[in-house]
């Protein structure tokens, strides 16, 4: 374990301060509007702190560091896309200005005014499914980081004997449940008001941790050594990938000959022997491979996976042009429709404040990818120089283990407190957002008799707790694909594509109608759901659906659905714009 009493003191002070402030805000909650959008009293700087803290979760640090570990600085390109798009939206007010003006609590609520109740419900469902699946891996990655940096073994467990029976609870599960319990406590009690205040404290601790850690990483390794090391690692990675490809092709040609001459069973046996022999050879030569900038992921001891650095600077070579284009489109949708960001727009004092929050938060998002990316890229070089990754480590857990080894006493405590802050602010913001959508857009439209304010509050609080419980189980069961970012982007896409299309249609196209909206929602979810299902079944990476294809197709299908569906409905005489299509609030907001 790498934590000293000083580190533990820093962590304890942070936790006590944060929890006390969160619980204190409970006294100001008198109705659902206070709980969900802080009574719309949030001002500019608090909005910036809250948006920045929510969007910079521990899960963000983990996956952006993983991108840095596998793609060097090029892995930070989504942050640049995010920044540029948010700045442009902050300047023009595209979508966010009319949305705030409409005075709704959630996006689906706007859809009811424009397209009717069914569209609101369906959109709410898609938002919740995409959002909760997206959040499903947060707790697990958070737990893994904290254990890695503190030097605990993620496979270790407590063993208890109770009424004659033996029980074992993993350290990881314990950390995940403890994190959740802390977040639930203040989120359930104080809602958005507690979230805002704790986000503010978390913004301070998180900012301090990120700045100090980044300076120490650069200080320890030297900037020019990091850059030249990455250049060498990128070239070595390319050479290794090409030689491995040639080796694979030669073997599969041989295997095909054996299949034709001796049958499929012999060929399969040959393949198994070859793979086992290669795995053994890699394990034996791990140190030599590391010297040549190839690390071994030994999480599955019988199937070690070589990890190489892709082109570390040029994102178009590293990921491909289609992937970068997908990131641009994805971030336009994220900035204008991601409910957790929009929750800050809707909580803002007015439309001008909402635009300012976006403009001033935009550059923060570059660092969101670039700084943990720097840690990940440096972790790659660090472990290459030390003969390989520690036993059981992979591209995801390498960065926390690296920081645990290089940071001095006290700074580790600050970093753990910062990352706890990141995890808690994101979890609380997301839990509250999805619970609000379930209450506001899935349950409320189905109730015949309105609930009392007290019952409404209780319902939202129960929803927050229920989502929390789901997160623990899902995080433990789901097996992540190679890049966590691809999982997050695709699950987010389930709703981003359709909700973005609906928002643009609702706010800027008078020809949009209910039928177009329904078609857009259904078609927008097809690509990402196909990605999740097909890739969970098909194990051969060559036959899996690329994340960029799933993401881009969902936008194309959703827009096509909106246009064709609306046009067909008009052509067939089903012109139906929803009960409040001419709602003066919507009319005013969109003009």
């Amino acid at each position: 374990m790498t934590l000293t009493p000083l580190d533990w003191t820093i962590i304890a002070v942070y936790l006590i301060g944060c929890m006390s402030a969160g619980i204190w805000m409970r006294r100001y909650v008198s109705n659902v509007e206070d709980f969900a959008v802080a009574g719309r009293e949030m001002d500019l700087n608090l909005g910036i702190a809250s948006l920045a803290a929510t969007e910079m979760g521990l899960v963000t640090v983990m996956y952006t560091a993983q991108m840095g570990f596998t793609h060097g600085f090029a892995g930070a390109v989504p942050g640049v896309c995010y920044c540029v798009v948010m700045l442009l939206v902050g300047i023009t007010g595209f979508v966010i200005f009319p949305l705030r003006k409409a005075g709704v609590i959630t996006i689906p609520e706007l859809f009811e005014k424009r397209f009717g109740k069914r569209v609101r419900w369906l959109a709410g469902l898609v938002v919740v499914v995409g959002g909760i699946l997206n959040m499903g891996i947060f707790l697990r990655l958070g737990g893994e980081f904290l254990m890695g940096v503190a030097g605990f073994d993620t496979q270790a467990a407590f063993h208890l004997t109770w009424i004659g029976r033996d029980f074992s609870i993993g350290y990881l599960e314990t950390v995940m449940i403890s994190l959740l319990a802390l977040v639930l406590l203040y989120t359930v009690l104080g809602g958005m008001l507690s979230v805002l205040v704790t986000d503010y404290l978390q913004f301070l601790v998180l900012g301090m941790g990120l700045v100090v850690t980044s300076i120490l990483v650069v200080w320890n390794f030297g900037w020019s050594d990091i850059v030249s090391g990455l250049e060498r690692a990128g070239q070595a990675g390319q050479t290794y990938t090409e030689s491995r490809k040639a080796e694979n092709e030669a073997f599969y040609a041989r295997m095909e000959n054996v299949r034709q001459q001796d049958g499929a069973a012999t060929a399969e046996k040959l393949k198994e022997e070859w793979e086992a022999e290669r795995a053994e050879q890699m394990r034996r030569n791990a140190a030599a491979l590391a010297e040549n900038h190839v690390l071994l992921d030994t999480k599955k001891p019988n199937d070690p996976k070589p990890l190489v650095m892709e082109e570390p600077f040029n994102p178009f070579t590293s990921f491909g042009g289609m992937w970068v284009f997908w990131q641009v489109i994805l971030h336009i949708a994220v900035v204008t429709t991601w409910q957790t960001s929009i929750a800050r727009v809707l909580s803002a004092r007015d439309e001008t404040t909402a635009k300012k929050i976006y403009r001033r938060t935009s550059f923060y998002l570059v660092g969101r990818f670039a700084l943990p990316g720097l840690w990940g890229a440096t972790a790659f070089l660090y472990f290459c120089a030390r003969g390989g990754l520690p036993e059981g480590a992979d591209s995801m857990s390498a960065m926390p283990q690296f920081l645990g080894q290089i940071l001095p006493m006290g700074v580790i405590g600050l970093l753990v407190a910062a990352m706890l802050a990141a995890e808690m602010s994101t979890d609380s913001g997301y839990l509250l957002t999805w619970a609000t959508v379930i209450y506001n857009d899935l349950i409320m439209p189905c109730l015949r008799k309105p609930l009392s304010p007290r019952a409404k509050l209780l319902l939202v609080r129960l929803m927050v707790a229920a989502i929390g419980v789901f997160l623990v189980f899902y995080g433990l069961v789901y097996e992540l694909p190679d890049l966590a970012w691809d999982y997050l982007a695709v699950t987010g896409n389930i709703y981003l594509a359709s909700v973005f299309t609906l928002l643009v249609g609702a706010l800027y196209w008078r020809g949009a109608n209910r039928w177009g909206a329904m078609t857009a929602i259904v078609l927008g979810a097809v690509g990402p759901l196909a990605f999740l299902i097909v890739n969970a079944i098909v194990k051969d990476p060559a036959k899996q659906i690329p994340a960029s294809l799933a993401g881009l197709s969902s936008f194309a299908l959703s827009f096509a659905g909106m246009i064709v569906g609306s046009w067909l409905a008009r052509a067939l005489g089903h012109v139906d714009d929803g009960p409040n299509a001419n709602d003066p609030q919507i009319e005013e907001a969109t003009t």
Partner: protein, 49 residues
Amino acid sequence: MNNGFVWFWTAMIFASIGWYAFLLFYVGGKGGREIVQMARALAKRNKKL
């Protein structure tokens, strides 16, 4: 070509460190005052109700 990207990422990373440090003090100071104002406004409104 890569040289341009190296300069770009160098600028982005160092600017991010600087920006985070600046926001820490700037937003830190002003955000604290806004929390107090928000709490006062909510308390006043709740009293009226």
